[in-house]
């Protein structure tokens, strides 16, 4: 039964039941004398639809979400404590304190669970390709698994140990049971709702009010969806980040002056047993990010602001009608295109201008910063144009009527009045610059081993975003190393920086709006 009754099938059934429910509900209601009825027949029809579909769909969403969490908890629970995969080797054990040991083991566990999930996904893919049945998988032994899956093109991150395979097999059985029960409950809910709602059809029943409540509920759901997504992102980042901070040390990370993950080809030999150990300091990365952002803003803010002033105060209607759309088209150019432009045009050009002694590589702070500035010009100009246009015409008239020139009006009345909004626009641009990825990946530099900060604006730097890309797409690092955990911490920090900037911008713009409403 499990193979046939899954959520897509249930969804199809729900749709059919809903259509039938609408027709039956409104027909039953039509039979009643309309003068005695509270609600119109089509409202009764919709009531049946909502009663049948909404609880079942909501249940399915919660079930799918909960099933993921449940399987995670289950997997964690069935890992035997003495499994060698989650044990620190006795050799290392000697040199660690009790607390360090605890942290290490927890990290090992997290990594092990990640490996288990990855393997489960690979096996699912293997079965979906028709290579094996569930029963066959349960009979597999650990040594052949990796080769089988790889032969089918499935991604297997880490080595498969017997203990891991055992856990995966258990977990998949658990998942299978969960996946069978869920659709059954959803179906029961659908038919129950359908029948109850149909019986409720009567002259007194206030179907319209119930339907309207459902609709308001959906509107609320739609508006909170984005917020929930943000919170989910935050939740997904928080746990690995906290694990990383515990393993590496929060202040070691935040104030570390070097970035050299062992997973990259060049690591720093520092380990007690001569192994490469990752050095993961935040300072060089945030330095690169801020340096480039500052250069970008130095380019974008004056150009964008002047463009906005020209467009809103001086340009004729005809000029404005083609310059403004042209600028906005520029805002739609994919950042990778800007990145290529930076790499093959601006970089060599800058190098030719300042010379190879100052600028050894074509990739540099200036290369990325200038091009990112270009990218932000339409962004700044479009936002500033909006706030400048929002300054009431009465201000311009008042100033011109006193015999001020247009330039005096702009500098002495309009820009001061629009200033909070303009600052808001600049802060928004800054948060975009900080989160920008493609341009810096191509044009800022790709060192894997960074020591300290680079003061030369024509030197190559690394940024937070480029390092996230490098670690997650790099060949050298598996998905289970501390380097990857560090990436979560980077993303986490970046999230908070941009969040803070956006909040700041929002407050400034709000303050500006109050003035003229």
């Amino acid at each position: 039964m499990g193979a046939f009754l899954n959520f897509p099938v249930v969804l199809l059934v729900i749709i059919l039941v809903s259509v039938a429910g609408y027709l039956l509900g409104s027909r039953r209601a039509s039979a009643i004398d309309p003068r005695t009825m509270h609600s119109r027949p089509h409202q009764h029809g919709w009531h049946v639809v909502f009663a049948a579909a909404a609880p079942a769909v909501l249940f399915m969403m919660l079930w799918v979400f909960g099933a993921g969490i449940a399987s995670n908890i289950y997997a964690n629970a069935i890992i035997p404590d003495d499994l060698p995969d989650v044990q620190v080797t006795s050799q290392q054990r000697e040199s660690l304190t009790e607390r360090e040991l605890e942290v290490r083991e927890e990290v090992l566990r997290t990594q092990f669970v990640a490996g288990v999930r990855g393997l489960a996904v690979a096996i699912d893919g293997y079965i979906a390709n028709g290579n094996a049945t569930e029963a066959e998988v349960d009979g597999w032994s650990a040594d052949s698994v990796q080769d089988r899956l790889r032969a089918d093109g499935q991604v297997v991150g880490s080595a498969v140990t017997p203990g891991m395979l055992r856990v995966v097999q258990d977990m998949r059985q658990f998942n299978g049971r969960v996946a069978t029960i869920g659709p059954v409950i959803a179906l029961v809910l659908t038919f129950a709702g359908f029948l109850v709602a149909l019986r409720l059809v009567s002259a007194e029943f206030r179907a319209r009010i119930v339907v309207e409540r459902w609709i308001v509920g959906f509107l609320i759901f739609a508006s909170t969806m984005a917020i929930l997504t943000t919170m989910a992102i935050l939740a997904a980042l928080t746990l690995p980040s906290i694990n990383f901070f515990r393993e590496y040390g929060f202040f070691n990370f935040l104030f570390g002056m070097a970035w050299a993950p062992a997973g990259d080809v060049v690591g720093i030999p520092e380990g007690r047993n001569g192994e490469y150990e990752s050095v993961l300091g935040f300072v060089p990365l945030i330095w690169g990010t801020i340096y480039i952002s500052v250069v970008a803003l130095l380019v974008a803010v004056p150009l964008g602001l002047l463009a906005a002033v020209y467009l809103s105060e001086f340009a004729s209607r005809r000029t404005r009608s083609w310059v403004k759309p042209a600028l906005e088209i520029l805002a739609g150019v994919p950042t990778i295109v800007y990145g290529i432009f930076a790499l093959i045009t601006i970089g060599p050009f800058l190098q030719a201008v300042v010379g190879a002694t100052v600028m050894p590589n074509t990739v540099s702070v200036m290369t990325a910063g200038v091009v990112m500035g270009m990218m932000l010009v339409p962004f700044v100009s479009s936002l500033s144009d909006d706030v400048i246009n929002a300054v009431p015409q009465a201000m311009r008239d008042g100033s011109l009527g006193l015999g001020a020139t247009q330039a005096e009006t702009v500098t002495k009345v309009i820009l001061p009045a629009a200033l909070p909004g303009i600052v808001g626009a600049v802060v928004l641009a800054a948060s975009r610059a900080i989160g920008e990825t493609m341009i810096v990946v191509l044009a800022a530099g790709a060192l894997s081993n960074v020591q300290g900060i680079e003061p030369n604006p024509f030197g190559a730097v690394v940024t937070v975003t480029t390092r996230i890309v490098a670690v997650l797409t790099g060949e050298g690092s598996g998905f289970d190393s501390i380097d990857v955990l560090a990436v979560f911490a980077l993303a986490f920090t970046l999230f908070f920086i941009t969040l803070a900037l956006n909040l700041l911008a929002q407050r400034m713009v709000a303050k500006y709006r109050e003035q003229y409403d």
């Binding site: 004729s316 209607r317 009431p392 009465a394 201000m395 311009r396 008239d397 008042g398 100033s399 011109l400 009527g401 006193l402 015999g403 001020a404 020139t405 005096e408 002495k412 009345v413 001061p416 009045a417 003035q515």
Partner: protein, 265 residues
């Protein structure tokens, strides 16, 4: 003494400050002002009355070339001020507007302090050499606008924080501070309550001693109270222009009579 002043005033009133001849205004295809000729005397309050959309505000905005800021607006005919054609290409509208101040329908103080609002004009025209000069101009202008006593202790607080009537008087002080020769007022009381209106009207009467004032108003009582000359506009035409007493007691045109008795408009 009283007689002497009366004679002086009459003499002043005979001086023409602004003279408009055959003025036509077009907004794109719309013919907004049709062949208007009017003489505005010095040290006189001239009121423009008429129903909404009759062109009185448009005509007012021709007198300081504020219509120049509207792309689609064209002005024909001649308007002279002290004998000088203000639409002559050699005339800089910026200089003209320094001589012809304007107060708008809705109070529009800048989002700056009260002091900076008044000091704005003198600063851009370089009327004050020192801070003390500027302080003097600001105080004199605020006094002239009958606002000094209310704001002298909070000159640094924002002009937008004042009440509507105070804001309008601030705008008058701001216009007066540039030492104009003519003051144009476009329905200056339409956004104000009766008390604030009375204060502004009193102010207009005092301003007359120094400036030529042109006021657009919807209120015929206001025109009767503050003006010496009244022009009645209807559908872009200047229907009648005469002494205010004459217009309200003995109108020559039937349209004027209909309007002031409330039958049209």
């Amino acid at each position: 003494m009283d007689d002497l002043r009366r004679i002086e005033r009459t003499a002043d009133m005979n001086d023409t400050k602004i003279s408009a001849k055959g003025v036509q205004v077009f907004y794109g295809e719309t013919h907004a002002i049709k062949d208007v000729s009017v003489e505005i005397g010095d040290k006189t309050v001239t009121a423009f009355i008429g129903p909404s959309g009759c062109g009185k505000s448009t005509f007012l905005r021709c007198l300081n070339r504020m219509n120049d800021t509207i792309d689609i607006c064209r002005v024909q005919g001649s308007i002279t001020m002290d004998g000088q054609d203000i639409y002559d290409p050699r005339v800089d509208p910026v200089q003209l507007r320094a001589k012809v101040g304007m107060v708008f329908q809705k109070p529009n103080p800048f989002p700056k302090s009260i002091y900076d609002n008044v000091a704005y004009g003198p600063k851009i025209h370089g009327l004050a050499r020192t801070k003390a000069d500027l302080d003097g101009i600001v105080e004199a202008s605020l006094r002239r606008a009958a606002l000094w006593n209310e704001v002298k202790d909070r000159l640094e607080s924002p002009g937008t924080g004042l009440s509507g009537g105070q804001q309008q008087r601030l705008c008058i002080a701001r216009a007066v501070a540039t030492a104009p020769e003519v003051l144009l007022m476009d329905e200056p009381c339409s956004a104000l309550d009766p008390i604030a209106t009375a204060q502004i009207e009193e102010l207009i009467d005092e301003l007359r001693q120094q400036f030529s004032v042109v006021i657009v108003t919807h209120s015929m009582q206001q025109a009767a109270r503050v003006s010496q000359k009244t022009a009645f506009f209807h559908l872009g035409h200047l229907v009648e222009f005469n002494d205010t007493d004459q217009i309200f007691t003995n109108p020559q045109d039937t349209r004027t009579e209909s309007y002031i008795t409330g039958r049209i408009g």
